[in-house]
Symmetry: C2
Subunit: 237 residues, 2 copies
């Protein structure tokens, strides 16, 4: 079996993509140890030739080429059914899809202005011009303008997390008593925020204690996977 | 086995509670046919004596008295494990809890001003003074004031549903290929809105086609359960 994981990397090998993070956790959950191909934004020609589109993560699995993190998670679940389940069955997979969409479009968007002006410094220097240009075109403003009001916007961003906080005050993981892909989905957004900025969005949030403790459990699991790579580049800024 | 379902009712036996609706669907899903005790707000002394708190739904199941819709769903799942599963396993139950909290606190609150000024006419005439007083105290304004800007607020309420719409454009039910408790949770909010107002919140929403079609599937299932009781009292208003 040849299993290859094309994973987004930034400055000095930092793992900067929430979508790659959720697949990294999913692979660990399944006990799979792929060959990792660190992938910069500059590697887009290779990615396009491989998959017909521009984004990572991508999994190459014995001839299958699967892109899009949700499709990869489903592929891993279906191809390795005898390993620990990512979804816990069909109903769990269905519900996970709603949580996936919510996480990407609501939670992720709420967190993005909290980190984006800092995040550029996690990008490989050779990718920064591309990253800034593409994101600023999409946003219609500079990264710094986009993040300028982040302190004022933080309470609203955390309000988006209120259902998560309440759920985690009742159970150890989003998936209940043990972590599953729904945890990896949501954690990946907080991990992106954690690595992408020196300012912890949960640091002063007294209303987010359960989420902060869950995040620590998520960082620590799978052999401390959340701390395996370098964090925000404070000293090299 | 004696199974009793204390269910909230309004004018002429209308079923007016989203929390009772999700339990009604859960019972049908499990193939359980309880004795139903229609329960008005005025019946609070009986409910308090039975359960030590004021709210329905309540299930009495062979000596167990269980209140709170989430607790009832878990009770039914654990007590009738050989009947069709409401959660599809532990991970599905965990994820359903997050969706339950989101549905009650985010979706439900977004929909409430869309219907509240109309909803009073679904309440039993003998309960209306209590309903109005308790809700207006909670809201700090009249029901009519609370719903006054509902047309302007509708796009924001539907924006809350965007992750649901996208999910349902990809799969038939929230739980995937077949309905489960996560569907009943979210449907109960739309059913409450559907019965509680003559104005369909999804009527003109061209961006909510998948949700509207799913709602119709939900109304039709379990023998047309969603249409078993009277709708909004247009003619008696």
């Amino acid at each position: 079996m040849v299993l290859i994981f094309h994973e987004r990397v930034g400055l000095d090998g930092r793992r900067i993509s929430p979508f790659s993070w959720r697949i990294r956790y999913a692979l660990a959950h399944k006990g799979l140890d792929p060959d990792v191909v660190p992938t910069r934004f500059a590697d887009v020609a290779r990615i396009r030739a491989l998959s017909g589109q521009d984004l990572v993560p991508i999994i190459e699995d014995d001839g299958y080429v699967v892109h899009d993190s949700w499709s990869i998670a489903c592929h891993l679940e279906d191809r390795y059914p005898d390993r620990p389940s990512l979804f816990g069955g069909a109903a769990g997979r269905g519900a996970a899809r709603l949580i996936n969409v919510w996480s990407d479009t609501v939670l992720g968007r709420a967190m993005r202005p909290q980190i984006y002006a800092d995040f550029i410094r996690c990008i490989d220097p050779g990718d920064r011009a591309y990253f800034r240009r593409s994101r600023e075109t999409q946003l219609g403003m500079t990264l710094e303008q986009y993040s300028a009001d982040r302190d004022a916007a933080l309470p609203a961003a955390l309000a988006v997390c209120a259902p998560l906080e309440r759920t985690l005050s009742e159970q150890q993981f989003v998936a209940g008593g043990a972590p599953a892909y729904v945890d990896y989905i949501i954690f990946s957004v907080f991990q992106w925020a954690r690595i992408g900025s020196p300012r912890d969005v949960l640091a002063d949030a007294t209303t987010m204690n359960a989420t902060r403790e869950w995040r620590a459990r998520m960082v620590a699991m799978h052999g401390g996977l959340g701390d395996r790579f370098a964090g925000y580049p404070i000293d090299t800024a």
